[in-house]
């Protein structure tokens, strides 16, 4: 087993490189992804090695980036699109929702929409407005799309490759605040299936589901809780569409309590979905109502106060206390 320690940014870069080496139909397209290597350097060096025809610096228009990727898909290419920041995906919303999500269906399976839309998402980097959003719910709600989130370098390396190989369109969410954190990457074997949720830390009292940046927050909360004698089982959802409800439900049946931690605002969110779906499946096992720890129902605030907006360990612990106190 070849192990290597690298940042998530590097793991994505290496994963993309490997995907491009394997299949010459794989293209990258986005703003500033060529010479600059993208504002986060995820595509660093790839244009130099694969040429301008395969690593395409795009004119500044997100709808066109996605729309032309659809045309390339019809021609048999697989484009990995980089949206520079979460908040700039909305101009492409029509192409994503009405075309990317529906053309496989509309063509009765003839068109393969095997494109990947990379979305550096979530906050926590002290950025200005529109650079810290968590728009996953919009895409999870949309039939025809799949949505996955990496939270470790190893997952980043493998999930990006699995996404490129997968025939359905995938919104690939990258927690930008974790880009520079290092972790071990196994260069030989993927750790899990692309759509599997994973228990990151086993526990017995409360099931905590998180994704992206919030996995680490949940794990820190688990440390704190352990000191207080409460055992959290932390699940990294990894795939938001489809959700791996089996893994989550199995855990909830054991713990009897569910807390979902998300950076997105609460209403009609992925958190709402997990709570609703798990309640339906585990009604008799639940000793407390499934509880969400979310951002607030307000626009992303100026980043000087973002720590009060994004779920913190404190807020997670507050929810843990609430669900633990329920049946006492």
């Amino acid at each position: 087993m070849t192990q290597q320690s690298m940042t998530m940014a590097k793991a994505l870069n290496e994963g993309l490189r490997r995907a491009m080496e394997k299949d010459r139909k794989v293209l990258l397209m986005g703003e500033d992804i060529g010479k600059l290597g993208g504002v986060f350097r995820i595509t660093d060096g790839l244009q130099k090695d694969f040429g301008e025809d395969r690593v395409i610096d795009a004119p500044l228009a997100e709808s066109a980036i996605v729309g032309t990727s659809v045309g390339l898909a019809i021609r048999g290419y697989r484009t990995v699109v980089e949206i520079q920041f979460d908040g700039f995906v909305y101009p492409a919303f029509d192409q994503i929702v009405s075309q990317v999500a529906k053309l496989h269906k509309r063509s009765a399976g003839v068109y393969t929409m095997g494109l990947v839309i990379r979305l550096p998402f979530q906050g926590g980097i002290g950025a200005i407005e529109h650079h810290s959003e968590s728009p996953e719910a919009y895409f999870v709600h949309t039939a025809g799309l799949r949505v996955v989130v990496c939270s470790t370098p190893n997952d980043a390396y493998w999930m990006i490759q699995q996404s490129v190989e997968h025939d359905d369109p995938i919104i690939f969410c990258e927690p930008k605040s974790r880009y520079w954190e290092k972790g071990e990457v196994d260069l030989d074997n993927p750790p899990y299936g692309l759509f599997d949720a994973v228990v990151r830390r086993p526990g017995t009292d409360v099931t905590v589901v998180a994704w992206g940046s919030m996995v680490k927050t949940a794990l820190r909360a688990a440390d704190v809780a352990a000191e207080e004698g409460v055992s959290l089982e932390v699940i990294d959802a990894r795939s938001l569409s489809p959700l791996d409800l089996d893994t989550i439900a199995t855990s909830v049946e054991k713990t009897g309590r569910l807390v979902v931690v998300q950076e997105a605002p609460p209403t009609a969110s992925v958190g709402s979905e997990i709570v609703a779906a798990v309640t339906e499946r585990c009604f008799y096992s639940l000793r407390a109502p499934g509880t969400r720890v979310s951002a607030y129902h307000v626009p992303y605030p100026p980043s000087r106060i973002e720590d009060a907006y994004r779920p913190s360990v404190d807020r997670v612990m507050d929810a843990i206390d609430r669900v633990m106190g329920y049946d006492q």
Partner: protein, 354 residues
């Protein structure tokens, strides 16, 4: 001539006119072929309208008046070229070999598609205004990467010309010098809105502002449409980049069968355009220049009649699909929510041609 700017090779009276840049050298058979195409697509269109009136279709978007624009452009395509239509391009679909019954499936609301777009190299109808133009440019970028000598043609209307996606597709086509030909059918109306609401100057000028050629063609002149389209496609295949063709034409009928044009336009305008009919002028030319006889025209009419009958029969035989078809092809690979839905529907006993 409607305007100085217009490329026209055949007057409404069926007389040839010369143009400094374009000329038609087509012979009798080719022109007769265009004539046949136009007569057939008009006849099929009328049949579709009456099928809709009889409750057999959910909707129909008639092409009447635009036969020359569509047949001229469509016939200019080479077999390996690829075309991306909007929702009114039944004439183009005909030139690509799409069976008429397949064109009607979407209007009978039994499918959201209708044919195999890769087989006919003609994409599916696009209802969202303008989205297809970006697909066309992307496809053209694929052609460039394959080093293929192929071109793409995409169709949209005067109304759609205002959409950001269409305008972005111009930016991209120019930036990447993509082998794409944009065919803007300016039929003067976008439902109830006249073209003057979308633009104060002729729409073909728009291309110039993006750095590629734009040409305005008499869209009711199939010879001009064919020549201009063919040159633009040849140019694209040879690496010359995009062209915008504005086919200046007229929507003779309603926007769709749901529309009531008497609310917003006057008959006199329609009458003016009736005299510019795209089919009559070709018929006059064929008769005069090539001595085509009434019997030939009658044969074409009879063939069209036959196809219309066949179409009616095919449409009436089209049943609603099994509702579980909604779960097919949502994803290329299995998805638990889709499978759960399918199971639920089967358990509820809704499936099975209900």
């Amino acid at each position: 001539m409607i305007s100085d700017e217009l490329v026209q090779l055949l007057t409404p009276e069926g007389e040839r006119v010369s143009h400094p840049e374009y000329r038609s050298e087509l012979g009798r058979d080719e022109i007769l072929g265009f004539y046949r195409d136009m007569v057939i697509v008009r006849r099929l269109c009328n049949e579709s309208t009456s099928l809709q009136r009889q409750g057999q279709l959910a909707l129909w978007a008639p092409l009447q008046g635009q036969e020359a624009a569509q047949i001229g452009a469509g016939r200019a395509l080479a077999p390996m070229d690829f075309s991306f239509p909007s929702y009114r391009e039944h004439g183009v679909a005909w030139t690509r070999g799409v069976p008429p019954r397949d064109m009607l499936r979407i209007f009978r609301a039994t499918t959201t598609g209708g044919w195999d777009p890769q087989q006919y190299r003609h994409s599916l109808p696009m209802v969202v205004l303008g989205d297809q133009t970006l697909h066309a440019v992307g496809y053209a970028m694929g052609i460039q990467r394959d080093g293929a000598e192929e071109a793409v043609m995409t169709f949209f209307g005067d109304g759609a010309s205002s959409q950001g996606d269409v305008l972005e597709s111009f930016v991209w086509a120019a930036s990447f010098n993509a082998p794409v030909v944009f065919v803007l059918q300016n039929n003067q109306w976008a439902i109830s809105e006249p073209t003057s609401l979308q633009t104060k100057i002729p729409l073909y000028h728009r291309a110039h502002g993006f750095g590629f050629p734009g040409v305005r063609v008499d869209g009711n002149d199939v010879l001009a449409m064919y020549e201009v389209a063919k040159r633009a496609l040849d140019n694209a295949r040879a690496g010359g980049g995009p062209t915008l063709i504005e086919a200046y034409t007229y929507r003779m009928g309603a926007h769709t069968t749901s529309d009531d044009p008497t609310r917003y336009r006057v008959d006199a305008e329609v009458e003016v355009w009736r005299h510019r009919d795209p089919i009559e002028r070709v018929k006059a030319l064929l008769a005069r220049e090539f001595g085509v006889h009434k019997v030939t025209f009658d044969e074409v009419a009879a063939e069209a009649e036959q196809l219309a009958l066949q179409l009616r029969e095919d449409v009436l035989a089209m049943d609603a699909p099994d509702p579980t078809m909604m779960f097919d092809h949502v994803y290329a690979e299995s998805h638990p929510l889709v499978e759960a839905g399918r199971r639920e529907m089967i358990e509820l006993g809704i499936s099975g041609g209900h």
